[in-house]
């Protein structure tokens, strides 16, 4: 009789550990997936940029400084690797693109061109996708970090080799400023 109780308790304990371990691993994988989604969207945006710059150049060739800013920001964003770097480069590129679109405002022919309109639609949907992917990533990081910090899952972080992850923050000061537009 006692042996059955002891075995039962051991079985329950094992199940408990397995459940905690699996929860941590699952949360960690979700964060990885969410991160991959951000990268997909950032890549898509980076791929749109050369085309966009070329189109704007066709109408506004002398806005060289704006183009340079976009091209530099794009180069930086494609070479970034850690969460913090990617986030900073993403913020800078968003700013540069805002500048480019603000320039486009001054050229009615450009704004009316079908090519520009479709690029603009692609760009704005990609921007939205980037920001939703970021939100989804941060929500999942929050869930993971909560599990890492709270009992009982916090006891098993070593076993599951799972640790708190970094939030994707675009809180760089330049992001708060209104883009500098020269006409």
């Amino acid at each position: 009789m006692e042996i059955i109780i002891v075995l039962g308790v051991i079985a329950l304990l094992v199940l408990f550990v397995v459940a905690q371990y699996n929860r941590l691993v699952r949360l960690n994988i979700t964060v990885d997936e969410a991160w991959a989604q951000i990268e997909v969207q950032l890549k898509r945006r980076a791929d749109l940029i050369p085309n966009l710059v070329e189109t704007v150049k066709g109408y506004a060739a002398h806005e060289q400084s704006t183009f340079d800013a976009v091209v530099t920001a794009r180069a930086k964003s494609t070479s970034a690797s850690t969460v913090g770097e990617v986030a900073a480069a993403d913020g800078a590129l968003t700013n540069a693109l805002r500048g480019l679109l603000a320039v486009a405002e001054a050229y009615p022919d450009l704004k009316a061109s079908a090519n520009f309109l479709s690029l603009q639609e692609e760009l704005s949907t990609t921007e939205n996708k980037v920001s939703f992917a970021r939100q989804f990533y941060n929500d999942n990081v929050r869930a993971l970090n909560q599990a890492v910090a709270t009992i009982p899952t916090s006891f098993f972080t070593g076993l599951a080799k799972v640790d708190a992850r970094a939030f994707y923050e675009v809180e760089n000061p330049s992001d708060r400023e209104v883009p500098n537009v020269k006409f």
Binding site: Q37, E121, E122, F132, F136
Partner: protein
């Protein structure tokens, strides 16, 4: 009005209410089974209760399992691809990323009323549909709100919830029907053998008569809670209550209703197509649209939430 305007609290409150309502459905089923037991005895009850539940289960299960295809034929919706509406797909993809769900199938219903719905047995078989009119009248923000509401139904498994509600309501209605007929045709002979309390017999009779109505009310209440839940979940996806609020205002100001006013699929649309036809607020499948707008407006006043 909702005591809270934070979408997380609203979500858990609405979920809690759904569980409570589903539990009430269970209780109601138990009550009517008990009524059958006191009235007809164990022999008959152990036969008709499983029969009613079984028939109802088979009937609802088929429509639940094939819901994406069935609703297509019932509403005349046509599945479209990215090439047909690239901008709509862009907005849907945005919400899909925000929700972390797989991409649903997308369909269009030719109709002069602005409306939309979601169906499918699980997120992998989800289908969201829009009337041609809603795509004309809504701007990007509003459309995003509508899509988020539909994807929220997918995320909350509302096809399953309403299938469960429909099964129990169906079983209860059928049970009550069986028993009334049996009483009519002189069933319940074993009643005399049992020394049942006469008060209990009267109560059982009342339960039999009232249970189907109560089940209908519960089913409508569940549907209304799921609509409020979908609004809250939609905001958790987009963090933009204003988009959905403006969309609901557009729907509220529009007086045209979807052509097929079939009761069978009324609950799946974002705005009820049976407006003004419902007997009372208690039987309607959707909360009053003004109430939904007010709740969303309260969320807006909280400012951007993370």
């Amino acid at each position: 009005m909702a005591p809270s305007s934070n979408f997380r609290e609203l979500e858990s409150a609405n979920k809690g209410k759904t569980y409570f309502l589903l539990a009430s459905m269970g209780l109601l089923t138990w009550l009517i089974a008990y009524a059958a037991l006191t009235y007809f005895g164990a022999g008959t009850t152990s036969f008709i209760v499983p029969l009613a539940v079984g028939i109802s289960l088979v009937g609802v299960w088929g429509s639940y399992y094939g819901s994406d295809k069935l609703v297509l034929t019932m509403t005349g919706a046509k599945v479209i691809t990215r090439e047909d509406a690239p901008e709509l797909f862009n907005v849907i993809e945005e919400v899909v990323i925000a929700s972390g769900l797989p991409m649903p199938k997308v369909a269009i219903v030719e109709d002069t009323a602005p409306n939309a719905f979601a169906t499918g047995r699980d997120p992998d078989h989800a289908l969201i549909a829009f009337t041609t009119r809603i795509l004309e009248v809504m701007d990007r923000d509003e459309l995003q709100g509508v899509i988020a509401h539909e994807m929220a139904h997918v995320a909350n498994r509302d096809t399953l919830v309403s299938a469960v509600a429909a099964t129990t309501a169906g079983a209860i209605a059928m049970l009550s029907d069986f028993m009334m007929r049996m009483m009519w045709f002189g069933g319940g002979r074993d009643r005399r053998d049992s020394n049942a309390n006469p008060i209990l017999l009267v109560v059982s009779l009342v339960v039999m008569i009232l249970a189907p109505i109560a089940a209908m009310l519960l089913k409508s209440a569940i549907s209304r809670k799921r609509e409020s839940l979908a609004d809250a979940t939609a905001v958790s996806f987009t963090r933009n209550p204003a988009g959905l609020r403006k969309a609901l205002e557009v729907l509220a100001s529009d007086t045209t209703v979807v052509q097929q006013k079939s009761n069978a699929v009324a609950h799946i649309w974002i705005e009820s197509p049976l407006d003004g036809k419902a007997v009372s607020k208690l039987f309607s499948t959707h909360p009053p649209i003004e109430e939904r707008i007010a709740t969303l407006r309260a969320m807006e006043s909280l400012g951007p939430s993370n």
